[in-house]
């Protein structure tokens, strides 16, 4: 899943990107508000981690513009200002959550996952499909209760398809969610990952729609739990 980190401090931006990458996200990092605006216009980020004290275009102003454009993507604000007025101002400007510096990386990633879950309208933190279960926090996949070992990209691809059950995802869409902009995927990378997933989880789970993309069909979904 693709995230955008907007942080003007080089050390902190680098740290957050590394930390969220460890948690399995594809993370892009920009250092000012303008660059963030451009990035958000062009890429399908699932969530934005936004510092408020940004040069060129302040975090709050960027947030207001996003919401004014009807962009409902979850935004988690990072800030050094921790007064109630600051928090209220940030949330009222359209932020979904608020983390005060210095923060715990584990907490930040947990909040990011929670926001993603909520934005997908999902109550259960574990994604389930038939006897397949995917836990984004533990980064584990089980099939009929048995643990299945997946490579990081395979996990992310499965996660993406499970989040969009019944919806056909194009190869381009999947690539954008798998890779940061500084990582150029091989032309058949998605096919290779899908191939591996079918080998590990069964051939019927992911259906190929020729010329369109891939889909996990919703028809086979059993009632959750």
């Amino acid at each position: 899943m693709r995230l955008l980190v907007v942080e003007d401090d080089p050390l902190l931006g680098d740290g957050i990107r590394a930390g969220l990458t460890q948690a399995g996200f594809a993370v892009d990092w920009v250092e000012d508000g303008r660059a963030a605006e451009l990035a958000l216009a062009g890429e399908p980020y699932a969530l934005v981690v936004l510092d408020l004290g940004l040069p060129r275009l302040s975090g709050l102003e960027l947030l207001r513009r996003l919401r004014a454009q009807g962009d409902a993507r979850p935004v988690l604000i990072l800030t050094a200002r921790d007064t109630v007025a600051d928090r209220v101002g940030g949330l009222d400007a359209g932020a979904d959550d608020y983390v005060v510096k210095p923060f715990d990386l584990a907490e930040l990633t947990a909040r990011v996952r929670a926001l993603l879950r909520r934005s997908a309208g999902q109550a259960d933190p574990v994604l389930r499909h038939g006897d397949l279960a995917l836990d984004p926090a533990a980064r584990t996949v089980t099939l009929a209760g048995a643990r299945v070992e997946l490579a990081p990209r395979e996990f992310t691809l499965l996660h993406e398809l499970l989040r969009n059950v019944g919806r056909v995802m194009s190869r381009r869409q999947l690539e954008q969610n798998l890779y940061r902009w500084d990582q150029e995927p091989d032309s058949n990378a998605v096919e290779v990952h899908v191939h591996h997933l079918r080998r590990k989880l069964g051939t019927n789970l992911i259906r190929t729609m020729r010329g369109v993309g891939y889909v996990i069909d919703g028809a086979t979904v059993e009632p959750a739990r």
């Binding site: 003007d8 740290g15 930390g19 050094a80 510096k101 923060f103």
Partner: protein, 455 residues
């Protein structure tokens, strides 16, 4: 005024002083009036009694003329309370005493034969009137003890003083109340100031205060305003400082946690290097904050001497030489002669170090830094020029603000370096300006000091 907290012995009460002064003035006025009355009464009484003496003598003479021709020496009794103090003698032309009052001495009252005389007899002063008949057969002398007059005059004056003795306490009480009422607005102001919390620095309401207190209130309110702005400034600075420290701390923590979770060595090493860099940055930020705090003396330069800026520049560049060498930056100093500036050597060193540090920080590897110290008509110019990225002219006004950083430099400074430079420049009465570097690329920082002895 309730100066409860004031040290004893050094303060006085305005109310007590007013009351004492009022009472003193009243008493002095009254005493002066009594004294004048006494003097006046004495004069009046003297004239009146002289007239009585003369009249008595006339009457005695008229009687003596036909009744006392051959009367042997006789005494007449004295009945009135002043009787002992009034006396007469009647003498014939041969100097024989014909008649005298009981109170009169046997000795002749005076040698004068006509008019008034003062005479001391047996330790007493007599006022005597002498009168003879036309053919000088009989001499009448009427005397009166002087103290009678004094007693009468003193009596008049004393009677005048009695009401004062009764009136003074009443007057004191009235003055006490009146002064209290007059000073009530002062008390109100004092109480309002006293009640204030230490951080309540809004102006005291001056509307109802008396004219005399207005200047005090104005001064007080001006002080409040100054203190308020100082506190506001300090509070903002502290908040900014805390804010600025949170980011490097967050970075250090995030990088440390990345290192903890890293499974490959390269990522862990990178994160750990970032932890070290973040710690260095936080340290530098704290040092810069301390420098800035120390540069905030309320007035002027504590220790101004003549400082050779050329020598100082050489020393700072020598210190920074290893850093320049590490980045292969070509550093040159152009300072042809000792150049003196009136100022504080420590602060000027801080100024130079910040300018050179900025240049070294932002100039890319293999770049050039030029430092020039020149004197022209007594005024000294210090220039630090580099061929780094420079500062866009739109941002040049803002870079002196605290914590302002130019973006896209790839460097994470404290955002305080140029604030420190500006503060030192201000303290030395100098000016600082930013310009393009040599050949339009990079940055030149130019500090102009006023001629020594002028600033």
């Amino acid at each position: 005024m309730t100066g409860a907290s004031a040290p004893p012995g050094k303060t006085f009460s305005l109310r007590g002083r007013l009351i004492a002064l009022f009472l003193l003035a009243t008493t002095v006025t009254w005493a002066a009036a009594a004294f004048l009355s006494y003097v006046d009464a004495r004069k009046e009484i003297g004239e009146m009694m002289d007239a009585q003496l003369a009249q008595s003598a006339e009457i005695l003479l008229a009687q003596a003329g036909h009744e006392l021709d051959d009367v042997p020496v006789a005494e007449t009794p004295a009945g009135h309370r002043y009787g002992r103090k009034v006396a007469f003698q009647i003498w014939d032309s041969r100097g024989r005493l014909l008649l005298r009052s009981e109170s009169a001495p046997a000795e002749r009252l005076t040698d004068r034969v006509d008019g008034f005389a003062d005479r001391r007899l047996d330790g007493r002063t007599w006022r005597v009137y002498s009168r003879s008949d036309r053919d000088r057969k009989v001499l009448v002398q009427v005397g009166e003890r002087r103290e009678v007059r004094d007693e009468l005059a003193a009596g008049v004056a004393t009677h005048l003083l009695y009401p004062v003795l009764f009136a003074l306490p009443v007057l004191a009480l009235l003055i006490f109340v009146a002064v209290g009422r007059a000073l009530a607005p002062l008390d109100r102001v004092a109480r309002e100031v006293e009640r204030r919390a230490p951080d309540h620095l809004l102006p005291v309401e001056a509307g109802s205060a008396p004219r005399e207190v207005q200047p005090l209130l104005a001064a007080l309110n001006a002080l409040f305003a100054r203190v308020r702005s100082t506190i506001e400034h300090e509070r903002r600075f502290t908040a900014d400082a805390a804010h600025e420290l949170r980011t490097p701390l967050a970075a250090v923590k995030a990088q440390a946690q990345v290192a903890q979770g890293a499974r490959d060595a390269a990522l862990r090493d990178h994160a750990l290097a970032q932890v070290v860099a973040g710690t260095d940055r936080a340290t530098r930020l704290v040092l810069q904050l301390l420098t800035l705090a120390r540069l905030d003396p309320p007035q002027g330069l504590p220790a101004a001497t003549d400082v050779d800026v050329a020598a100082l520049a050489l020393a700072v560049l020598a210190d920074e030489a290893p850093r320049a060498a590490a980045k292969q930056i070509d550093v040159a100093l152009h300072a042809p002669a000792p150049t003196f500036v009136r100022g504080d050597p420590t602060m000027l060193a801080v100024l130079l170090r910040n300018l050179v540090d900025n240049a070294l920080r932002y100039t890319p590897d293999g770049g050039r830094i030029r430092v020039r110290v020149t004197a022209d008509a007594g005024a000294t110019t210090l220039e630090v020029a580099d061929n780094g990225p420079g500062i866009p002219s739109a941002e040049r006004g803002r870079v002196f603000e605290r914590f302002y950083r130019v973006t896209g430099t790839g460097q994470s400074g404290s955002g305080l370096g140029l604030s420190i430079v500006r503060r030192v420049v201000e303290l030395h009465g100098a000016v600082v300006e930013l310009d393009d570097g040599p050949r339009g690329k990079g940055l030149t920082v130019r500090v102009r000091f006023p001629a020594a002895g002028q600033g």
